[in-house]
Subunit: 885 residues, 2 copies
């Protein structure tokens, strides 16, 4: 006969292949612990298969199942020496749902089942606490009536409220033993009124009613919606767990507590937790009584006067420690354990992997390797890569009191405090006076780079996680909160408003870029520590990963940081960032405003030495590693002045008529600059720009050779290619300049020419483009924009609606979308087919996202490139991806 | 032995499978005519295979080849009774290149070969024209020296110039027989000086030198570049044609002329052409003498006094007519023939398909079917679909004198004259006063629709062939010249400037949208005639085509025109165009400016009856045919006022604070509106908009049923879908509204729900989207924009550079690009795999482009949709596509 009901201690369970499918997640875990010999309150599981039978059987339990249920109940009674309905020592039960995967709060639960008029008295006597017994009964009636009998909860609440009014008290706790007894009566009357029957005193009926209700709750509306949203098949069904209740509040030989097998905040290998004598689990959490420490050491360290468990119940403490040790050894991870002591007997109610801070995650993983509890591979898999981010940036001191005045997107991690400024110039001015500032802008543009550098943090009211502000801030390692629609900025009045505050220029605020919080005043921050454990985990990861990790950087400072974080070259050096430097921007503008090739050449020749020096510095820092240089990408109008004062200045400096400058600016205006005259399209129109840039690269190479720096091979990257002809023409240009430089300096230069794949057409026609490209670098930011037809600068207006409607599980600018991923796969396959040796990498923001890194590894790319501060995250994620293969 | 040299009259030639590959295009044609018995001056072909041998043989002709050449030469001499170098009747030859495909002007040609000191005298005697003989010799030395001996041309020109200076004359024609004799001497001296040898008097050497030079010119730089640009393999090589020269200027029994087998300007089946007695071919073309008509009829009709060929040489005229008849019957097409009469002997020098006007193309095709010369299928293939365009629009009277003041893109065909206006309001004002206007704008926006309707033509200085102005103008059938960068518009002064002109508001100009010309003043136009021949060809096309042809239309007027042109339903009804109507725009603005759902619903309820009426009218016109209604697509800010006066007006009308209106406008501003909050993204945020639109559609259906109109099934199209979730949510919305309406009116409504595929992600994930879509309509405009990452509004800035650099053969917004095409194929295949019954069509601008229609046919789409005026073009192109399969 097929088994539908399983006692927790059924031996075979552990050999089940898919025990969770049959027993549900909760049941499988309880059963596992029971079988391992942990003191788990006894119970049994009605399997998920019964759920299906239940629905087929006209939503009722069949005779065989009922028979089995009572057979298993008997075993519990024998085990505990308690009996359902016993007048002296009544057994109480919990009846809970338990699907394959956790569906928190979506299905029904009934506690304290087994109470009726008689057993309530027995419970009162046994605990010497009739108030507790009456309150338990009152709660049980309310819960059971709601779940099983379908009586709306508010009707019970009304009775309580009226009773309190009549008695003239405010709180439930003001009600005494007799009051609660009266309420029990009133509740029973309500049930009779509503159902025309007495509240069931027959405890067997109570049990079967509860079991049926849990099965019925599988098809409740909220469960259906939850399943739909989480793509859980309705065929799975739920199991039902029937378990004996234990009480930590039956006297002073009782207790209840929560304990971690290691210290979750610093990772130290010491038991850490809290407990209360003669209490229920919720008392520990609720904060009505101050919990006591578990260990003597913790008690002493925090100078508490209350006895630790180690002191008050030394024997049980030892039992607990032994159990904790066993649990950790078995699960090979730090455990978060709930326990109850009922009349000197220890019960383990639950165990699960404990949440921990990023820092302790690293420490615990390293320690467990030392303790030979886990392997290095397991240690690597144990750390959530994105959690490393917080280790690399200053964080808020969580002990400080803070007042959050608004929220935004956590665009760039870290915390910073400073005076509010509304312009980049002001940020720079105050920075020169050694004052910390937070730059607050509606949105930022490339003209704000100097201000973003000068400020300690950036706050914008518009733009998503991949807006200009967010991308640049992450690149610079500056904390940033972006797209905070809760603040309203008024540049003219130099203020910003939140719902309740008005912040003036000069006021001090703190931003928490890891959580997207905007906080009033200054908050202490904690500096990051690159501990020995951290670097140990990194070196293990490096041993396993195959993906190379490069960085996106165009400044010596960033390049140095990236190298310290372990970057193996530069995957994206955005040369346009070099154009905004104060010394250069005028020449850039001269070039753009020129009407003749001659004048343009003149301006470019002024830029050449600057670019050359940039490259020399970067090549030196990256000695031995590849450096991918992307030639000029953004549309020219981004470099032009915006307001009339600036226009006047520029006109004066360049000896031009300001009207002409305005005309040129309006000529260069674009409806959709993202899709405009940029990237290699600029170089098709004005090849001299790329010629200058290539010359700067090659002359830098020659100079590095002269100075005997370790050689690097630059990878010259052509942006925004969509056709074979474009890459062909551009490659010819690069090679032509290389030959000129080689001839002039009589020295050979080595380099690669490749392209960004950032347009769907480039992906689709990759076989043609690969004829001329030695590498592809997937520009996933733009590729996502064009594949979806979504501008990331504008997406903040509807992204929330999209997340709310579950159209996006996750912002596709954060993790590579599967449609975009398909294009990357198509391009990779077509590229490799044409050119076996083609180098493949990605350089979009996704290069630092663990999920995307897994995708890159699976797709067979050679490297990912990310902002300097994401390099360690990427190193770890790349190792995990490899280990998962 | 393998044959390398072929006499024109070699019988086997016609049985060669790929005669052009061996003989070259020119040689194959001359040989074909010779074999058919036409009087072609005799000659022979040195095959393309010799070219390869020539290059392998160190760029020289081998002995066997040389031997064969002289063997074939002998045959010509016998045939004509003339001999190379003969002192009385010398044979003169032309030596020309002839590759597989025509490479006009890229390789070398030598005429009059066979002249030396002796034969020149013979030629003088024979023609009684020593000036002609000396001039021929002089020209021959110059040509031969340039091509074979490598002496630069300018050196000969210098000698001529100096000679004229010394003699004090200006023109070459002022030089007499003796002068030319002197020049011959000077030329020969130059040759001796440069080559250290005499100019070759040995005519065999002349011949071999010329042949070698033609082979060498296959590898000349210009030939190489031309091949590269046109993807002609260098392995093909060229053939060389050696042919005897004939002269129409050897006396009064000589003549030369050009003749068409039918009248090319009206298509009538009558010989039409011109000739001159005692003249060379170039005299007919050059216009120094007025040519005479070939037929008596033509002479009489044009009241000429000069004798027709029919009168002056009646016998030869008859011979010519017989030959023309034979040529047309053989080639089954109207021929353009060059002939020469040398001493009463008729020679046919060339025949080719004659160029003709669109109107005559149609007439000739229909006539030839009647004459049983060609089949209906052939007739359909004979007409260039895009040429029909000119038949459907007014055209400039080509007899008028015109002054083109600037050029732009031929954005919408047809011609129109009117007063220049710079605003849509002014166009409307003048239209109300019955004045014709040309609306001149930097670019147009949806707010200009009323002005574009009111004006007779549209001229813009920005935007490409698919800019707003161009698309809307084509849809309306208004002529339009777009993106004319040669004009500079100054709105404030109400003028526009060209290089040489300043045009003020009120000045009259004419635009020619078929050729992109802007013309000063008014020019007569000719109205189109939809002749019987035209409709006959259309009905033949309809018999063969399988693709359905729909139209893009949202007004009753356009829908009627499209029906008249044969449209089989509407493929794209852009509901937003209905929003700009004066009566409605205020409600639209109210909706957008609303902060509450209630206020928004109120505004929408005002729009509902208007939309319903629109649909009733359109459904009535399209009775029995499908109508695809696209729900609101553009971003909301397109509907908002732009200047401060308008803002004030709107604020007043809606009882709002103008500051609030401004704030809302700036909130709605987008960086890249093309990639912004539009399409179904709007409906995710504000579902009430689509709900209103669906209700309008369904209520219109109910009303049509009530009025007993022939039923139509609307295809409700959701724009800008990129994910399965979007189409799912939208389909649910449509069905919900349908159920509501069905319940309210107690009547069933039938409809389909589908989506535009206009984003790469939608194409890539088509299998998921097809789960919910009953049809796909490819929105190739937006799909091209996103696939390439090119905004068509901004592309005019670099499109020219792209065409010049041959990156685009053709603007991808005109003909479907192959990368975009791959996405369409992917989507079609994935869509069909998921849903066999899925309807597929396209509704972008490409729907009216013949090349794209071929692609759609090949890809298995069910219909194309285009603007009303392109419907006949599409019908013909669809038939051709089917016939080519």
């Amino acid at each position: 006969m097929k088994k539908f009901i399983f006692n927790f201690n059924t031996k075979e369970i552990s050999s089940f292949k898919n025990s969770k499918n049959i027993l549900g997640g909760k049941g499988a875990n309880l059963s596992e612990m029971t079988n391992l010999g942990f003191p788990v309150p006894p119970g049994f599981i009605i399997s998920t298969e019964v759920c299906e039978i239940f629905y087929k059987n006209n939503k009722s339990l069949n005779k065989n199942i009922i028979k089995e249920i009572f057979k298993e109940l008997k075993k519990i009674e024998i085990n505990l020496g308690k009996k359902l309905g016993d007048k002296k020592d009544p057994l109480l039960l919990s009846v809970r749902s338990g699907a394959r995967v956790s569906m928190p709060g979506m299905m029904d639960t009934i506690l304290n089942l087994g109470l009726n008029d008689i057993t309530t008295i027995a419970l009162g006597k046994k605990t010497s606490n009739f108030r507790f017994a009456n309150d338990s009964y009152r709660r049980f009636i309310q819960m059971y009536s709601g779940v099983v009998l379908g009586i709306e909860n508010y009707k019970f609440e009304e009775i309580i409220e009226n009773y309190k009014l009549t008695k003239g008290v405010l709180l439930d706790t003001d009600l005494d033993e007799d009051d609660l007894g009266n309420l029990v009566k009133d509740f029973k009357d309500l049930v009779k009124n509503e159902t025309k029957k007495e509240f069931p005193q027959d405890l067997s009926k109570q049990l079967l009613g509860a079991v049926s209700s849990v099965f019925l709750s599988w098809e409740s509306n909220r469960a259906k919606v939850y399943r739909k949203l989480n793509q859980i098949p309705s065929t799975w069904g739920t199991a039902v767990n029937v378990q004996s209740m234990v009480f930590g509040n039956m006297g002073n030989d009782c207790a209840t507590g929560v304990v971690f097998t290691r210290n979750p905040s610093n990772g130290k290998n010491e038991i850490y937790g809290e407990y209360l004598i003669n209490a229920q689990g919720e008392d520990v959490v609720a904060g009505t009584r101050t919990p006591q420490y578990i260990t003597l050491k913790a008690k002493n360290e925090s100078k508490s006067n209350e006895k630790s468990l180690e002191e008050s119940m030394p024997k049980l403490f030892k039992q607990l420690v032994k159990n904790l040790k066993k649990l950790e050894t078995y699960y090979k991870d730090m455990q978060d354990v709930e326990f109850t002591i009922e009349n000197k007997k220890l019960w383990i109610l639950q165990t699960r992997s404990g949440k921990r801070t990023s820092k302790s995650a690293v420490k615990i993983a390293v320690d467990m390797v030392k303790e030979k509890l886990i392997s290095k591979k397991q240690a690597i898999m144990r750390i959530e890569p994105s959690s490393l981010d917080t280790l690399l940036h200053p964080t808020l001191d969580e002990k400080s009191k803070i007042e959050v005045i608004a929220n935004g997107l956590p665009a760039s991690p870290g915390a910073a405090s400073g005076r509010v400024v509304f312009s980049s110039d002001e940020a720079e001015r105050l920075n020169d006076m050694m004052q910390n500032t937070i730059l607050v802008r509606i949105e930022t543009s490339p003209e704000d780079i100097h201000g973003m550098h000068a400020a300690k943090g950036i706050l914008t009211s518009r733009g998503g996680m991949t807006s200009h502000a967010a991308v640049v801030a992450r690149g610079m390692g500056r904390p940033c909160v972006s797209g905070s629609s809760e603040i309203e900025i008024d540049y003219s009045k130099k203020i910003f408003k939140t719902k309740n505050y008005e912040i003036k220029e000069g006021d001090v605020i703190t931003i928490d870029g890891s959580a997207g919080r905007i906080i009033l005043g200054e908050v202490k921050t904690i500096k990051p520590e690159m501990s020995g454990d951290f670097s140990k985990v990194m070196s293990w990861a490096d041993n396993y990963r195959k993906l190379k990790i490069r960085t996106n950087s165009e400044t010596p400072a960033d390049s140095k940081i990236a190298r310290e974080f372990g970057a193996e070259g530069i995957g994206l050096c955005r040369t346009e960032h070099m154009f905004f430097d104060e010394e250069r921007i005028l020449s850039v503008r001269q070039m753009i405003l020129s009407k003749s090739r001659e004048n343009r050449d003149n301006a470019l020749s002024k830029l050449l030495p600057h670019q050359r020096n940039d490259f020399i510095e970067i090549f030196k820092i990256m000695s031995g590693f590849p450096v991918t240089v992307r030639l000029l990408d953004p549309p020219l109008h981004e470099f032009l002045p915006r307001n009339s004062n600036e226009i006047l200045d520029v006109a004066k400096s360049l000896n031009l008529n300001s009207k002409d400058v305005e005309t040129r600016i309006s000529e260069l205006h674009e409806q959709n600059p993202m899709l405009g005259h940029r990237g290699c399209r600029l170089a098709i129109s004005f090849p001299e720009i790329y010629e200058m840039q290539c010359r700067a690269i090659f002359e830098a190479l020659v100079e590095c050779k002269k100075r005997k720096f370790k050689s690097i091979i630059p990878e010259i990257m052509i942006p925004l290619v969509s056709t074979e002809a474009e890459i062909k023409i551009m490659k010819d240009l690069v090679i032509r300049v290389a030959k000129e430089v080689q001839k002039e300096y009589k020295t050979k230069v080595d380099f690669l020419v490749g392209t960004m794949i950032e347009l769907p057409r480039a992906a689709i026609k990759a076989q043609d483009i690969a004829k001329h490209a030695e590498f592809f670098s997937f520009g996933t930011n733009d590729l996502t924009q064009t594949t979806f037809g979504i501008s990331r600068d504008d997406s903040s207006k509807f992204l929330n609606d999209y997340i709310e409607n579950k159209i996006f599980d996750i912002d596709p600018f954060i993790s590579i979308d599967e449609g975009v991923g398909e294009l990357i796969e198509i391009a990779s396959n077509k590229g490799r087919k044409q050119n076996k040796k083609i180098k493949l990498g990605i350089c979009g923001e996704h290069g630092g996202d663990p999920k995307s890194i897994h995708f890159c590894s699976k797709t067979g790319l050679h490297y990912v490139s990310c902002s300097p501060y994401r390099v360690p995250v990427a190193r770890l994620a790349a190792a995990q991806a490899e280990l998962k293969k």
